[in-house]
């Protein structure tokens, strides 16, 4: 809810949420404060005395109209919204739609490993890299995805080389990342990738049985075994490195299916066992293959939030015992809350990261606002296609109607529920999800599953922070260095 009080009340524009006998109040600068009902009542009625201790807490956070420190508030706002001033930083190259896995929930539109028609040709990859470098952003990330990108290894290898050369010519900072199931990884490929400072990311859905149930290798072998083997190998290489080239710690993504629901602590334990220091708990996307199988592998937003809460509570307990493991979504929310930083999380941006924060380059050169949009395109709906690397300039892509539509519709100031929501300063909507699930890029947040999930995640984070000892613990997740 939002408060618009008369001038005499001295309440500056804010949003609030009533939960568990307290009011969580936030403002657009990113400050938050918890108020007891009596305090909230005194403040909003304009009955708070200047000597009231609560008033000074409110004033220093930009909630009192006649005590605004504009310099501080403006700098906080700008810092937390850095993405609005930089241009697209993430460039996803879909090297092939072929995949050697048939994951239950795959949204990438993977085709079988034999069909090479969906491999990205080198000239398309080169033009994609050129387009990525046309972004005004000084630091860009090129992420190689699929399908399984290693199935198009020769092109991937040449593209990495070309991108590194281009980096030198352009004078920009380039990060390269590979998202792979590691099934086709071997020493030669690993050495080549590491020598070019490519960071490695894979999918790990938990212990062997659960992982293999969600992620099936077409060959019939254990996906878990090969994934874990290479996580350990890249960990070893990371731990024993000596300077250049930098070898990055491998990371893994968790996709939660219905089968994961009963195992929050076991999944976290698996990540710990492998020495991974971050777990990124992500819900299934209702786009693509998963949508068709929703009755079998899906769940309600409430069920996901319950899982998330259990996992997060368990992670906090592990941290209390000295174990170093963080949950990624929570960590990025904490960056916004405590450091007023923009962690670059494209899902929680206003406007969203579609086109202005990221671009997805399909194997055929078609460019989409994001990877989810690319998936919709593969299903035959090209609404979010913004250009083609062979035909369109970077400027054309940014001036495309789909780019503009995404920016306008994901602006929370124009979203009826969001503009009054206490989590507005930290949240974001997804026009592609809205369109896929509610047939309108604007969506309707009163019945939006993504909104319900993020609302639940924010509630879980703020509930955990309520306990001072938890807050002290979680602040360490955002510490630099």
């Amino acid at each position: 809810m939002a408060v618009k009080a008369p001038e005499s009340n001295k309440v500056f524009h804010c949003q609030w949420r009533e939960r568990s006998n307290e009011y969580l109040v936030t403002n657009d600068f990113g400050y938050f404060i918890r108020l007891k009902p009596a305090e909230f009542d005194r403040w909003t009625r304009g009955k708070m005395a200047k000597t009231d201790k609560c008033r000074s807490r409110l004033a220093e956070r930009g909630f009192v109209r006649d005590c605004l420190n504009f310099e501080d508030l403006a700098s906080k706002w700008k810092k937390r919204n850095t993405h609005m001033f930089l241009g697209p930083g993430l460039h996803i190259l879909v090297m092939t739609l072929r995949c050697n896995h048939t994951c239950l929930y795959c949204q990438s539109g993977a085709v079988s490993a034999g069909s090479k028609k969906t491999d990205m040709p080198l000239e398309v990859a080169v033009k994609s890299v050129d387009t990525a470098f046309d972004s005004p952003r000084q630091s860009i990330t090129i992420e190689f995805q699929g399908g399984e990108p290693l199935l198009n290894w020769e092109v991937l290898k040449q593209t990495v080389k070309y991108a590194r050369e281009k980096e030198k010519r352009a004078g920009k900072e380039l990060k390269l990342a590979l998202v792979s199931n590691f099934a086709l990884m071997d020493k030669a490929k690993a050495d080549d990738l590491m020598s070019n400072e490519v960071s490695m990311c894979t999918s790990l859905d938990g212990p062997r049985r659960l992982h293999n149930r969600n992620r099936r290798w077409r060959a019939g072998a254990s996906s878990y075994d090969v994934t874990v083997k290479w996580i350990k190998e890249f960990q070893k290489q990371h731990d024993s490195q000596s300077g250049r080239p930098r070898i990055f710690k491998p990371s893994a993504l968790l996709t939660v299916s219905k089968y994961s629901m009963a195992y929050p602590s076991q999944i976290v334990d698996e990540y710990c066992r492998l020495g991974l220091d971050t777990i990124f708990i992500r819900p299934l996307s209702m786009i693509g293959y998963a949508a068709k199988l929703w009755d079998k592998i899906g769940y309600t937003p409430k069920e996901f939030v319950g899982f998330y809460r259990d996992a997060l509570n368990y992670i906090v307990e592990l941290n209390r015992k000295g174990r170093n493991i963080k949950e990624k979504t929570c960590q990025m929310i904490l960056e916004k809350l405590f450091n007023f930083e923009d962690p670059g999380y494209l899902d929680l941006m206003c406007p969203c990261g579609a086109s202005i924060g990221q671009l997805a380059y399909n194997y055929d050169g078609a460019i989409y606002t994001c990877d989810e949009a690319r998936m919709l395109g593969w299903e035959g709906d090209g609404l979010f296609k913004v250009g083609n690397v062979s035909e369109d300039s970077y400027r054309h892509i940014m001036l495309n109607a789909a780019t503009k539509a995404c920016v306008v519709s994901s602006n929370l100031e124009q979203q009826p529920m969001c503009h009054r929501c206490a989590y507005k300063p930290y949240c974001g909507v997804c026009p592609v999800h809205n369109y896929a699930s509610q047939k309108s890029i604007w969506g309707n947040m009163t019945a939006n599953s993504r909104c319900e999930i993020f609302m639940g995640i924010f509630d879980a984070v703020f509930d955990i922070l309520k306990k001072p000892s938890n807050e002290a613990l979680l602040r360490k997740w955002t510490a630099k260095g």
Partner: protein, 92 residues
């Protein structure tokens, strides 16, 4: 099959023609919706396979709130959108 037909009249001060038409566009593949502007109200004819009239009105209300909000927040919205697009283009 558009076998269920419903005709209702709604107050145009609550549900503007613009909001009703926007909502109708979202239900284009589920229903035949005809909106006729009358003095002080809008007449809605819905033909659909199921009972979607309630959902349609919910969506119309959502669109109406969005239209009202756009009028109220148009300045700040324009600044945010323009800034984001100009930055992505590399223009100051």
């Amino acid at each position: 099959m558009r076998n269920k037909k419903i005709t209702e009249e709604v107050d145009s001060s609550l549900y503007s023609g613009e909001a009703l038409n926007l909502a109708a566009s979202i239900f284009y593949d589920e229903a035949e919706i005809k909106i006729t502007a009358k003095s002080g109200y809008n007449k809605i004819d819905v033909g659909a396979a199921g009972n979607i009239f309630g959902e349609f009105l919910n969506e119309a209300l959502n669109q109406q709130c969005r239209i009202d909000l756009a009028k109220k927040n148009s300045n700040i919205s324009r600044i945010i959108v323009t800034r984001a697009l100009l930055s992505a283009l590399g223009e100051k």
